[in-house]
Symmetry: C2
Subunit: 171 residues, 2 copies
């Protein structure tokens, strides 16, 4: 994630202080964020974020968290409200569609939740920041997929020293 | 591999007929091939190639095949000779270095052999053609790696509709 901390839009959004790059990666970050009307994420991602996001969580939309935990909605300053969904990915998607209106829905992560939506065949675009860091472990993005899996074409590639930003669109 | 069949250098090399693209991807293919003085590959890759390469195999260098099979060198027209090495990756690399002289050595594949050389910490560059095709199975390139693994930086990205050509260089 190192690439994101030097982008001005991200720094402003998380109130990390002045400065940051304003080039095409920053534009990508801004446009991707601004066209999102609702987010969906998994419990692992939420649990990590709950302890590390600032009080003003960086989504500014409804966020539907797929979980078995029963919990009341959690509203944060700045327009982010987390809703805890116990009825599976299709129900979360339905709620996200109603909330997003004409804007797009982001499946924020992690890998397991992205795989669930790939397997529901509802993913129109993939935006991937590919950085040459070998973890040696962790969850893989493209596994546990139904066959035949969804087919994507390369839509755009942004080249940056810290990461290669790949945008794929469903065929 | 679809991207490669429409590149002129590849078509000429495999005598696939006239035509093909002559842009930066073709230049990359030519320069990568021409700076190689020896190839190393695994038995799986060799077995697949033995039945599908043309009589004039497309390497035009010595090729060291890592295998448990004992077999005499196999010379093909056009300068490719396959040597079958039973003494492990370091011995194959030593022979490849002697044969290549001042030229480079390519670890051609497959994934298992590339991992063996990554774990020997002798890989200076990675050239990857990344295409959005989900196989749902097969060998993964970056697994079974020692920790800490080798560290690479992005050197160059070539954007093409059929594949994204990523070149990483060791830090």
């Amino acid at each position: 994630m190192g690439w994101i901390f030097n982008q001005r839009y991200f720094r402003e959004n998380l109130k990390l202080g002045p400065g940051g790059e304003t080039g095409p990666i920053n534009d990508l970050l801004r446009s991707t964020t601004e066209r999102i009307g609702a987010n969906v994420m998994g419990k692992r991602m939420f649990d990590q974020g709950e302890v590390s996001w600032p009080e003003e969580a960086p989504f500014h939309t409804p966020v539907y968290v797929l979980t078995h935990e029963k919990r009341e909605p959690w509203a944060r300053p700045g327009g982010t409200t987390f809703y805890f969904i116990n009825d599976g990915p299709q129900r979360a998607l339905q709620l996200a569609r109603e909330a997003a209106g004409s804007r797009d829905i982001r499946i924020a992560g992690g890998a397991d939740v992205i795989q669930q939506y790939l397997n529901l065949d509802v993913v129109d675009e993939l935006e991937i920041a590919l950085a040459p860091v070998m973890f040696g472990g962790g969850r893989r993005l493209f596994e546990n997929l139904r066959e035949p899996g969804p087919q994507f074409r390369i839509d755009r590639v942004l080249d940056d020293p810290a990461a290669t930003h790949l945008r794929y669109v469903r065929k």
